[in-house]
Amino acid sequence: MDIRVQEAAFDLGAEANAFVARQSRMGAVVTFTGIVRDLDGTSLNAMEIEHYPGMTRKALEKIAQEARDRWSLGDVLIIHRYGTLHPDEVIMMVATAARHRADAFHAAEFLMDFLKSRAPFWKKEVTEAGADWVAAKDADEDALTRW
């Protein structure tokens, strides 16, 4: 598995192509990409992402390993940025490869559900009105119960 926690921007397309090229015998690849968006149209200037350096990588590895234990997967890729990001920048991506599409889809959804609520990242939105920490959603915690 390929897990990267980084401040630098990355090229989603190049990563997706490289991920597909690294697989063999895996006919299905699913990617999820999270993008900074001004969802409410309240002039989002920036999103600041804080993380817990000593723990982040371990937490992501544990989630990725759990996915590999549950589904028949080729490889798993997780890239997550921290620091100050601006609207339309890519925050993070996951990619999963499997022989069959259902495994690739389920593993990607599982990774996202657990990454959302179990990996130590915190987002702060900076708008013209000030800066506010993004509140965790009950729906995100609830999403874990289905696995």
Partner: protein, 81 residues
């Protein structure tokens, strides 16, 4: 033992990290020691349901033992992805 704070917990307490020289038995004992120090701690720890804790970089519970622990971190629910 190092105690770390992230996100708004860090902002309310005012430091990202500090060293504790005594050895509380559980996370809850540590929380109560901190609460007793100053208002900023009491405020940060006023609603534990809004907080999460990691002991030695693993998610844990407030009633967990701190025996042998080297690092405890407090933070709000995560919002990655």
């Amino acid at each position: 033992m190092d105690v770390l704070y992230f996100a708004w917990v860090r902002e309310r307490i005012g430091v990202p990290k500090e060293r504790i020289d005594h050895a509380p038995a559980t996370v809850m004992d540590l929380v109560n020691d901190l609460r007793a120090r100053e208002d900023r701690y009491a405020v940060a720890f006023s609603d534990l349901s809004a907080l999460r804790v990691a002991v030695d970089q693993e998610l844990s519970d407030f009633d967990a033992s701190l025996a042998g622990a080297r690092e405890v971190a407090f933070f709000p629910p995560m919002t990655g992805g």
